[in-house]
Symmetry: C2
Amino acid sequence: MDLSDLTTPALVVDEAAFERNLSIMSSHRPGARLRPHVKAHKTTELARRQHAHDHHSFTVATVREVVGMAQAGLGEDLLLANEVLDMRRLGAVVQGGARVTVAVDSEPIARAAVTGGVREVLIDVNVGLPRCGVAPDRAGALADLCRSFGLDVRGVMGYEGHLMLLDDPADRLAQTEQCMQLLLRAHDDVGGDVISGGGTGTWTDNTWVTELQAGSYALMDTAYGAITDVPFEQALTVLTTVVSVSDAGWAVVDAGLKAFGMDHGKPTVLGADVWFCSDEHTVFSMQDDAPLPAVGERVRMVPAHVDPTCALHERMHLVNSHEVVLETWPVDLRGW
Amino acid sequence: MDLSDLTTPALVVDEAAFERNLSIMSSHRPGARLRPHVKAHKTTELARRQHAHDHHSFTVATVREVVGMAQAGLGEDLLLANEVLDMRRLGAVVQGGARVTVAVDSEPIARAAVTGGVREVLIDVNVGLPRCGVAPDRAGALADLCRSFGLDVRGVMGYEGHLMLLDDPADRLAQTEQCMQLLLRAHDDVGGDVISGGGTGTWTDNTWVTELQAGSYALMDTAYGAITDVPFEQALTVLTTVVSVSDAGWAVVDAGLKAFGMDHGKPTVLGADVWFCSDEHTVFSMQDDAPLPAVGERVRMVPAHVDPTCALHERMHLVNSHEVVLETWPVDLRGW
């Protein structure tokens, strides 16, 4: 099958760029030093490629992602880097032989782990992003509480998510160090082997974690692509078809709000100005007096944010440089 | 089953508000004078409720929506109010006995209808929104071309989508009239029984169309809710669980960018200031020194844009005022 045979809109992964991204990251963070974040793509077949690059431990964000990764045989060491209250499905996964570790930032979450049958936890430490995580100076007490419940505390995690898209490398590095000093101090009180954190934006900056939780690096988006010292290539596009062209100077393709995560802004069309997206359309004009495409032409668009974009699609297609579809992967970890 | 038994995040429909919305619209636009737009909810069971209010003709935006509506036995009169090039699946639906009409705004689309086996069309006229639609003064010639291909031209459609969220009723009415005068002039040249257009925002303003293509009125969102003369109630919420609370003054729930369409802005928490959404979280603080909810409490959030929000969920739950789950409907028309 060829790219031109696909029904549009369709998620397309350029295999060469994707494999280069995996290789660059694997060289820098080999094996267990990378814990690829599955939330970015929600696709077990893609995770299998990351596994083939020798990363056997994964980060996930939802119970559904834990269950699906375990079912796919990728449950060697799954970290649910998120607070969850109903852990019964996780306990069943543990019973089934997979290894599941959950983030804990409060007593109710620790109790939920016990009740659900999850035995291993990381203490989730707030390192500056106002979201989940216990205050650093209370991490040790929470670890003690978890241990008193019979839980195995493997270490700490702390996500410097507010720094990921900082474009000034020196500023990002300095702030990452501040965040990680908080995490290390918490780790002194908590103990354990694991210090987990970081992401695609701090992939070289964050030298303090024992494992990096990067996800976007595999497929990329325009938000991360704008950061000058992030070397990963755009591997993901949305294939669209031009369905209408106006003499007044615009073209319309058949992908819009239901094909692109919009929180980081509009998707990009190379050489064009994107005017707006509506549910099933994107409208754009060409730059530099370039001619508009004709009705029926295919246009590959670049998402602004990879994670919510993948969550909108049922499948993604791996293609080579000759536009041959090599594999079609279900985006099988959607939902909760 | 009770609301508290649902895994979160979950789409929840308040049955009383939903049925009131359907009744208000049906009173004003009975029977075929409303052609409910399925793209807003992508749910055949919800469409069945609209059918029970005596609307037997539907508007859809994708081929998948046509196929699914026909499979659900709701294919009496389906209008694909969108330009599509690959109509083979539509031809199969017509062969199966459903009635399918497609929008046409260019010769390639007309040819695609013929090739695909679709026999009925509306001429899609651009009435001001820079998107699809032929220029009004060329609608007649396109209709002639369609007829020369053997297609049955049922009339015209023209969507004044750029006016839907105008809050000044007089301005919206005046601009709607200007748009519809363009559509009526095109209709003079095209002929046929159907003049299709409008939406929830112009539900009373647009007295020129023979059928209104409204969709959002059934479930609503904060964007339409902000319009003072739109009487429909918020029937849709996303049920979430508080998973983390900070002493520093914020709470975190387990629904974010993968549970809410974000193009119209952030979702709303009653009585709270929403700080931001990330993939699986929304962070908020309380207004007026109200206490933060506790970990484990449920919070119902209101989406800013109903259509892309529904497209992110596998199912929606119909609940009554006692929070009993009456029915669970698959959002079965997602994808393409």
